[in-house]
Structures are given as structure tokens and as C-alpha cells.
């Protein structure tokens, strides 16, 4: 007795649910993400990512340089980040420009935000973040908040 196409699709669906189910923690995290909705912040879009955009990626990889460069922009405001990956941890350094100084925090979805000190010329460094969806929130002196678009680091 051969299966119809519909029966085969149903069988494959049951196989997938056993062999490679959606992790329940992912479903609950995706539902809970609604709490991270940020109505006040203006989004700084990811405009460059060395992982996919830079022609020198292959050269840098060959040199063993694992840092990844991300650039976010909102109007004249630019946030440059360099992500260094270690097993289970991410260090992110960078520079804020085009905005007046204010409080900066780094956030990985599922973990509490971390306050990040900002030094002279807008340089910052945060060490030991867990891997995952990441953003920076930058409260400008004028009261406006910028948030970088969520990016997996």
C-alpha cells in the first residue's frame, strides 16, 4: 500500500516533530519578546556587517581575525561595533558618533540589560555578553533614545 502525497507530507511532519522539534524554550521566548517592544526608541538600522558585506572578510578570516564589524545608523548618528567571539561569550567594543553623550546599555534578549560606560570620543567596551539577539540602547542627552536593530551576535 503506497502513501498518497498528502499522507507522506503528514508522515514527514510527524518525523520532523520527533527528530527536530521547535524547542519549547524558543516558543516561550518568542512570546515573551513582546515585553521588549520599545515604543520610545528610534531604530538605528544595521547598514554594514563585515560577516556579509566586507570584501576583506576572507582575508581577515585567513589571518585568524575573528572580530566582526557592525555599523548602525539613524540619520547622522552612527554606532560602530566590533564583536569579538569567544566560546559562549561576546565582547563588544565600539564608538558612538553624531550624538551628544548619554547613558548606554547593552542588551541580549533573555538577559537583563547591562549599563555600559562611555569614554572620551564615545568609545565603549562591554565584555562577556552571552551569544544571542543583541542591541544597544543609547539615551541621548536631549532625551531621545536610539536602539540598534536586533542582530544575532
Amino acid at each position: 500500500m503506497t502513501e498518497t502525497d498528502d499522507e507522506l507530507i503528514g508522515r514527514l511532519r510527524r518525523i520532523a516533530q520527533r527528530a527536530d522539534p521547535v524547542p519549547e524554550s524558543l516558543r516561550s521566548a518568542a512570546r515573551a519578546a513582546f515585553a521588549l517592544r520599545d515604543l520610545d526608541a528610534r531604530v538605528a538600522e544595521l547598514v554594514r556587517d563585515s560577516a556579509v558585506d566586507a570584501p576583506l572578510t576572507a582575508v581577515r578570516a585567513a589571518l585568524g581575525d575573528t572580530a566582526r564589524m557592525l555599523s548602525f545608523e539613524a540619520g547622522d548618528t552612527v554606532i560602530e561595533c566590533e564583536v569579538t567571539a569567544r566560546p559562549g561569550e561576546r565582547d563588544i567594543s565600539g564608538q558612538l558618533s553624531g550624538g551628544t553623550a548619554g547613558a548606554l546599555e547593552a542588551e541580549v534578549a533573555g538577559s537583563p540589560p547591562v549599563a555600559v560606560p562611555v569614554g572620551a570620543h564615545g568609545f565603549f567596551l562591554v565584555r562577556g555578553l552571552p551569544p544571542g539577539p543583541f542591541r544597544l540602547r543609547w539615551r541621548l542627552a536631549g532625551g531621545e533614545t536610539l536602539a540598534t536593530s536586533w542582530t544575532t551576535v
Partner: protein, 184 residues
């Protein structure tokens, strides 16, 4: 029934702060995003991060989705781009993972969990199908599955081609799994 509510209504309600509408969108598309993401052979934690990032991107764009009836395509495109970023970022593995054990064209994730030989053969065959077959079949076995209109947006294929392509892909899958008695 939430199932009957259109994406336009759910997106509008979620944008207005309705958490249940958001949960309904998550329930409608998380399986689809997971299945699509698994094609990129990322490890399970990276795949989960990509899907979560995709949801967070939707969250930051809730008020700007131009055509909510094309939401499945928007989500799939966002997730695919993020998969490529994660696959190409060239970083070190997570703690406890062996860099050299990252599978290439090896067995699909979960292969060892299937004791039924035929089920295991089908699961392996799915990973060998090639495109557009693998993506189409992974889409169609999502729970809930997308409509053919949504599948056509995601695969950039005419709606009228989905049925015939499905038939051709399943026939190839049967051959690869040794189900039709012929050599693959």
C-alpha cells in the same frame, strides 16, 4: 478562533499592544521559521537565536509592515538573511562544542532519534533533496503549514507551480529514501 484572524488584524492588534495577538503570530509562524532555518545547518542554539532575532525584528517594525498578508515572506526573508550572517560570521563555537564536529552534508539533525528505519531514511533524504525541493517540503511540513500563496511568496515561485513542484519533489524524496524500489 485565532486561526481565522487575518495577519492584518493580528499585526494591527499587536502594534496597538495586544499581547494575545502577538502570541497568535508567534504560534502561526515559529514552526515555519524553525523549519526554514534548519536548512542552513546551523547548530540548534544558533538556529533558535536566528528565529528569536527574526521575531524581535518584527517587533521593532510592527507599525511599518506595508502588507501584512505578505508577512510570511517578510519573516522568511528576514530569517534567511540572519542565517547567512550567522553562518558567515566565522566565529568560534559555543562553549562545549567541538568545532570539527560541525556537520557539512552529513546526517540531518536528529537523525539518531528515529528508530524506524524508513522514517530515518525519509529524514535523511529530505536533507539531500536540493533546491527548491528541500525548502518547499520543509515549509509544507510546518505546523501549521503555510498557504500555497504564502509558500509562493517565500519561494518566489508562482502559486500554480507549488502543486506540481510538490509532486515532483515528493517523488524524488521517495526515490532517495528507497521507497519506490528503484536506485536513487
Amino acid at each position: 478562533m485565532v486561526d481565522d484572524v487575518s495577519n492584518s488584524e493580528l499585526v494591527a492588534a499587536a502594534a496597538a499592544g495586544d499581547e494575545k495577538a502577538w502570541a497568535a503570530l508567534v504560534d502561526r509562524y515559529t514552526s515555519l521559521l524553525w523549519n526554514l532555518t534548519r536548512r542552513y545547518r546551523l547548530d540548534q542554539a544558533d538556529a533558535a537565536d536566528v528565529v528569536q532575532t527574526t521575531w524581535l525584528r518584527l517587533l521593532e517594525n510592527l507599525g511599518k509592515i506595508a502588507d501584512p498578508e505578505r508577512l510570511a515572506g517578510w519573516l522568511a526573508t528576514t530569517a534567511s538573511r540572519e542565517c547567512l550572517r550567522v553562518a558567515k560570521r566565522g566565529d568560534v563555537p559555543r562553549a562545549g562544542e567541538d568545532f570539527y564536529s560541525i556537520p557539512d552534508d552529513g546526517p540531518a539533525p536528529g537523525d539518531r532519534l528515529l528508530d524506524d528505519e524508513l522514517d530515518a531514511a525519509l529524514w535523511r533524504a529530505l536533507a539531500m533533496l536540493g533546491e527548491p525541493c528541500e525548502r518547499l517540503i520543509r515549509l509544507l511540513i510546518s505546523d501549521p503549514p503555510p498557504s500555497y500563496a504564502e509558500a509562493s511568496q517565500i519561494l518566489n515561485m508562482k502559486v500554480g507551480s507549488i502543486g506540481p513542484t510538490r509532486q515532483r519533489c515528493l517523488s524524488r524524496l521517495r526515490t532517495l529514501a528507497g521507497l519506490d524500489g528503484s536506485e536513487p
